[in-house]
């Protein structure tokens, strides 16, 4: 079955460093991947989308890459800040009108 995998271990980094989160997909080739941010006790919020024909997408301090050979997307936050601490979810389209979500990776940015 179609599957999205993210590292379940929390990522701890120092303020100012670049955070890199990984999303791997198996058993299919999504036309695009989406990244969401989720704060504790809140619903996910859409951040970025990257299509299969795009190698890289940027939005302010965020950068997403999409490698269809490796079946992987990387999500980078440059110059990270404590306010970036949250869980980040990767999602891809599956079937009719639906998305499949990864379990998310928790990012902790220390001052």
């Amino acid at each position: 079955s179609q599957k999205i995998e993210q590292n379940s271990e929390a990522l701890n980094i120092q303020e100012g460093k670049t955070a890199t989160l990984t999303c791997n997909y198996t058993n299919y080739s999504p036309a695009y991947l989406q990244w969401y941010r989720q704060d504790p006790g809140r619903g996910p919020v859409f951040l970025l989308l990257i299509r299969e024909n795009e190698k890289e997408k940027r939005k302010e301090r965020l950068k997403v890459t999409f490698d269809t050979t490796l079946k992987q997307s990387l999500f980078h936050i440059t110059a990270s800040q404590p306010a970036d601490s949250a869980t980040y979810l990767c999602a891809a389209k599956t079937g009719f009108q639906k998305l499949v979500f990864g379990t998310g990776t928790r990012l902790l940015v220390s001052p």
Binding site: Y32, G43, P44, F96, K98
Partner: protein, 116 residues
Amino acid sequence: DVKVTQSSRYLVKRTGEKVFLECVQDMDHENMFWYRQDPGLGLRLIYFSYDVKMKEKGDIPEGYSVSREKKERFSLILESASTNQTSMYLCASSDRGLGWVVDTQYFGPGTRLTVL
């Protein structure tokens, strides 16, 4: 600003009670979804609706039903609540996602349901 609202942020119910969770969106989206989210399991799709009165089972529909009588409103019903339905419930809506249109999902704030 797009908005998805859910009827309650926190809810406590007793085993066997019938529970209604309501979701309203103001974006004129065709698609609406109900998920539950549990630690380590991520978001799991319970049901989704792609049009008024239309619904499709998700990955974990057992013990749940849904109703969509109006385009903006999607209700999740727990026919007889059980303790294993204690969870965070999230509603979302999206555009149809046909052609070049992307089906980004917009989520509500969630309802934390506790069944005692």
